[in-house]
Symmetry: C2
Subunit: 149 residues, 2 copies
């Protein structure tokens, strides 16, 4: 895929949707495109992490360790992102991410991440929006779990 095609793909990703073409080229150029086969791990719970990933294609399983083994807690699809918590909170990976099917991701390093959200406020706003939705979703599930208990 050449740079212009890559830019077209990135335009479809909500957190990048409002970025001007020149900045998208920068992301396409500096981000590392990675492909994973079915069952292959992108990152492992507990490992240190210095990058986040945007899903350009395919599906990823989100797995967490439990006393009785790995438990799938979510699935992430095209245009989703993961790994930002390790960057933002300076914490180890909070889940294992595994390709459920063939998976294509754009890996964004910590440095690039901070450069992006600093230079392109719309990326920061779209990420805040997604994080606020995740807080809402998790709290909603928590209310239901407490109701059922």
């Amino acid at each position: 895929m050449n740079l212009n095609e890559e830019v077209e793909v990135l335009k479809g990703v909500p957190i990048f949707s409002k970025i001007e073409p020149a900045k998208l080229k920068l992301i396409a150029f500096t981000g590392e495109r990675m492909t994973f086969g079915t069952g292959q791990e992108v990152c492992h719970q507990g490992d240190p992490g210095d990058s986040m990933y945007v899903i350009l294609g395919g599906v990823a399983d989100v797995l967490i360790d439990t006393p009785s083994g790995q438990l799938q807690v979510a699935q992430l699809k095209k245009n989703g992102f993961f790994g930002e918590t390790a960057i933002l909170c300076d914490a180890p990976r909070n889940a294992t991410i595994k390709a459920s099917d063939s998976l294509v991701t754009l890996r964004i390093s910590k440095d690039m991440f901070y450069r992006l959200v600093t230079e392109v406020p719309t990326v920061a706003i779209e990420m805040m929006r997604e994080l606020a939705h995740r807080v809402e979703d998790a709290n909603q599930k928590l209310r239901e779990a407490n109701k059922a208990a």
Copy 2:
């Protein structure tokens, strides 16, 4: 409190900590300082919301409606913030916030919020950091609730 004293107070708030003094003056000048007495509501679950609040002093109870009445799910303290979800997700207030004690807040309008995170990337980064922690906390509680069920 004069503008310089207000700037000193804002410097102590983590999401504003890395902002240059001129920008802090802008926040102090445009943000609306509001004081609530014990038991007084800052916002009510289900209402439309077009502002967020930073707690400059006091404690606020976070209450949600349940079939058996209001349930306190959290307490927010000095330097905490709330109300950002209504702005970011264009959603009604997801909880009722009530002054647990005398409460002093800085009300930041939606327009000011977007101006702030656009002009001052560190505010966006600190907010993303806090939101990422909230996702983590909620997921952690969810895991525990599911374990107990």
